[in-house]
Symmetry: C2
Subunit: 126 residues, 2 copies
């Protein structure tokens, strides 16, 4: 598939797909004329990339952590640690987000009951 198709299939802009490639996250084979071609599996790959980006991983981190693309498996224990760290970070992020959600829910509640939102708004540490 060509870049436009992949963009349509993933929701990522063509610009972003080129960027992912530039960052070493996504491979493509070029047509004789120089245009990018992607295997069908690229759709999932892009989904993964976007998820990780949305989770706050930086493209450099993703490159380190994501298997292959370029030079397959430089499996250092350092890398394993890295992965673990990111996992921990994301889990913390989820916990924080949970608290934030509760705060928002509380706001919504107070909003409904009286119109004055007597915000208690406790328990948050960024």
């Amino acid at each position: 598939m060509r870049i436009g198709d992949l963009a349509a299939a993933t929701g990522a802009s063509a610009r972003s797909l080129r960027y992912y490639e530039e960052q070493g996250l996504l491979a493509s084979v070029r047509s004789p004329g120089g245009q990018r071609g992607y295997p069908h599996a690229a759709v999932e790959r892009v989904g993964l990339i976007r998820s990780l980006l949305a989770a706050g991983l930086t493209s450099a981190t993703i490159r380190d952590v994501l298997p292959c693309v370029a030079d397959e498996s430089i499996r250092t224990p350092w890398l394993a640690d890295r992965l673990g760290d990111e996992l921990t970070r994301v889990e913390g992020q989820i916990a924080d987000l949970h608290r934030t959600r509760d705060v928002l829910a509380e706001l919504v509640e107070n909003y409904k009951i009286n119109g004055t939102a007597e915000t208690v708004l406790s328990t948050n540490q960024a």
Copy 2:
């Protein structure tokens, strides 16, 4: 308390606190000489602001959504919707993050077992 104290108490930089004020998120009373003073409750307030920022709300949104600071209660139904939207968004974000966490966990697992991470890496839609 003065800005330095609040910064120390919250982990936010003085720069950020001034920015929050500039954006209408945080109030202060000025000393005769023009320096900012905060009530004790500001600590919690800043915590809340930071949580919401971390959750991806923009400072403009927070201003809209957070009770008072400036003109208390312009309680339009529009605002209630807004709040609800953000709540929904954050909940979606949590769900996505959950999936991402699982993916990361999978990576870590594969990493431990064999050294080759045969990434299946399914089920993600940004």
